[in-house]
């Protein structure tokens, strides 16, 4: 009897340490530690339940959403992320499965893919394995997939949605604050999830929205950590993080500043930023300058003795606002920024908001 109890206890413990499970339609592999699964589940629940009032103007067109709310944002993720595997999962050996005879679309591959070796797998925080399997499969004309829960999951499209999460996503020193379950940390992890989910998009030369080498003069020059288009993974991460941050109810001043730094860092990777400002952004920029100008005008009017430095600053600010106004005029003329085509190629099923919401609600009610 004692042996039975001991065995049952040991089995229970081993399952609680790492156990595969499905939540809101997303499969979490047993290679992910159970505490990480729980956090990711809570992150997805947080996103789904989010009350989004302030929205970054770029988000809706970038994600091609009809509406911005928790259900639509979760649906966007779910259409691109269906399987999550852990850092210890080895994409190779007996885990790798192949199938010959699959007909891939006869579209060209992204030009940079031939020069890349394990681009995604090299990333320890999170990586999009599904897009990599599809690209490698298409390159070698062999359908590739991985074994999950004794079943083969093939990648007939980058939209298969297999992500690999690393410990970096949960490490204390990489968190926004000490509380791993805080809203600020959830926003940070979700930003990374949106980034990786974007790699499930694209067709032809745009498959996977691959990063490219940062140009000369960039702080990360020579590293594959930039994108020369305005709707890629870094742009999307910045825009999604910004929207979630704008709606954060419990973020402290320090949290907000740290998350702003992440947004700024992501945007520095977009090497065509000067061409991608939206009308709303420019209007906000002009309004911000105007508030500062109003302050100085009032200051000079009430304190005539303040002298030249403030008058010169006022001139500078007026010059700045002029630049913004000129950019706005240019934007209103028919000049289109360079964007990649996010429509995915290959075989996949687009899940409706109702379907993904039903899956989430079923999991939440358990």
């Amino acid at each position: 009897m004692k042996k039975i109890i001991a065995t049952t206890l040991m089995l229970s413990l081993s399952f609680s340490a790492s156990a595969r499970e499905k939540f809101a339609g997303v499969y979490f592999d047993s290679s992910i530690p159970s505490y990480q699964i729980q956090i990711l589940k809570d992150d997805l629940s947080y996103l789904y339940k989010s009350s989004i009032k302030d929205i970054d103007a770029e988000l809706k067109p970038m994600m091609e959403l009809s509406k911005v709310d928790g259900a639509h944002l979760y649906n966007w993720i779910y259409n691109r992320v269906k399987y999550i595997i852990g850092e210890d999962y080895r994409v190779g050996g007996r885990n790798l499965v192949t199938k010959r005879g699959h007909q891939f679309p006869s579209t060209p591959l992204p030009p940079s893919i031939l020069n890349k070796n394990n681009q995604y797998r090299a990333t320890l925080i999170m990586s999009n394995t599904g897009a990599e399997l599809y690209l490698r499969g298409k390159m070698n004309k062999v359908l590739r997939g991985i074994r999950l829960d004794r079943k083969s999951v093939f990648a007939p499209s980058p939209r298969v949605g297999i992500l690999q999460v690393g410990e970096g996503l949960f490490l204390e020193r990489l968190l926004i604050n000490e509380n791993i379950e805080s809203e600020a940390n959830r926003i940070k992890r979700l930003g990374t999830l949106f980034h990786e989910a974007r790699h499930s998009d694209g067709n032809s030369e745009h498959i996977g929205f691959l990063h490219s080498k940062c140009p000369e003069g960039h702080a990360l020059s020579g590293l594959d950590a930039c994108e020369p288009y305005s709707n890629g993974a870094y742009s999307l991460e910045a825009t999604a993080t910004k929207t979630l941050l704008l709606n954060c109810r419990t973020c402290s001043n320090v949290d907000k500043t740290k998350l702003s730094t992440i947004i700024a860092d992501s945007l520095t990777r977009v090497t065509v930023r000067s061409h991608v400002k939206t009308e709303a952004q420019l209007l906000e920029e002009i309004a911000t300058f105007q508030r500062v100008i109003d302050f100085y005008v009032n200051l000079i009017a009430t304190n005539p003795q303040v002298g030249e430095p403030f008058k010169k600053e006022l001139e500078n600010l007026r010059a700045r606002i002029k630049v913004s106004e000129d950019q706005l005029a240019e934007l209103r003329s028919p000049v289109k920024p360079k964007k990649l085509d996010p429509r995915p190629e290959g075989t996949f099923k687009e899940v409706s908001v109702r379907e993904s919401s039903n899956l989430m609600n079923a999991s939440l009610s358990k």
């Binding site: 500043t257 740290k258 702003s260 730094t261 700024a264 860092d265 920029e285 302050f295």
Partner: protein, 173 residues
């Protein structure tokens, strides 16, 4: 004898009370930070009267204190030493820099006497061409957001702010 001791104690207590009251009624000394209608960043440092220090020395000390903070910020050269894996997502040193800027902002938000110094820090951080671009952008964002809120004028050196930093700063929440 007993009466004598009681009288002595009574006199002693009465003297203490009287001395205490007298001290309380002393006129207050000039405030360390005289109230002014207009101050520029760094101006308060000239007015501090640290014990045993001239205003110039006090300013130099304060500047040195900020220099130390500025030195902790990640630089462009720091980023160049990172590997591809470390830069795929926001590098740790950038997050640490953000934490430092956030902490300074938070302290000044809670304690208005620190706002001049904080603004001085943000200005120097935004104008420093060695500091990593995302950090400079966050600092500049703080400057422009806080000038009207804190009502502290901070003339920026236009030539020290590249368009990239300005564009980023304006795109932050």
């Amino acid at each position: 004898m007993k009466k004598f001791v009681v009288s002595l104690v009574f006199i002693f207590i009465f003297t203490l009370i009287f001395w205490n009251l007298k001290n309380k009624e002393r006129p207050k000394e000039d405030p360390v930070f005289p109230v002014k209608t207009v101050k520029t960043v760094g101006a308060d440092l000239d007015e501090k009267t640290f014990s045993g220090q001239t205003p110039k020395e006090a300013k130099e000390n304060a500047d040195a204190y900020f220099e130390e903070h500025l030195k902790s910020l990640p630089t462009i050269d720091d980023l160049k030493n990172l590997t591809e894996e470390e830069v795929h997502h926001t590098p740790e040193i950038i997050k640490e820099g953000g934490e430092l800027v956030g902490t300074i902002f938070d302290e000044a938000q809670k304690d208005p006497t620190k706002r001049m110094s904080a603004m001085n820090f943000f200005k120097k951080c935004a104008e420093d061409d060695q500091v990593a671009i995302p950090i400079r952008a966050v600092c500049l964002n703080r400057v422009y957001k806080l000038i009207p809120e804190w009502e502290i004028p901070v003339p920026m050196s236009d030539s020290k702010i590249p368009d990239e930093v300005l564009d980023l700063a304006m795109n932050l929440p």
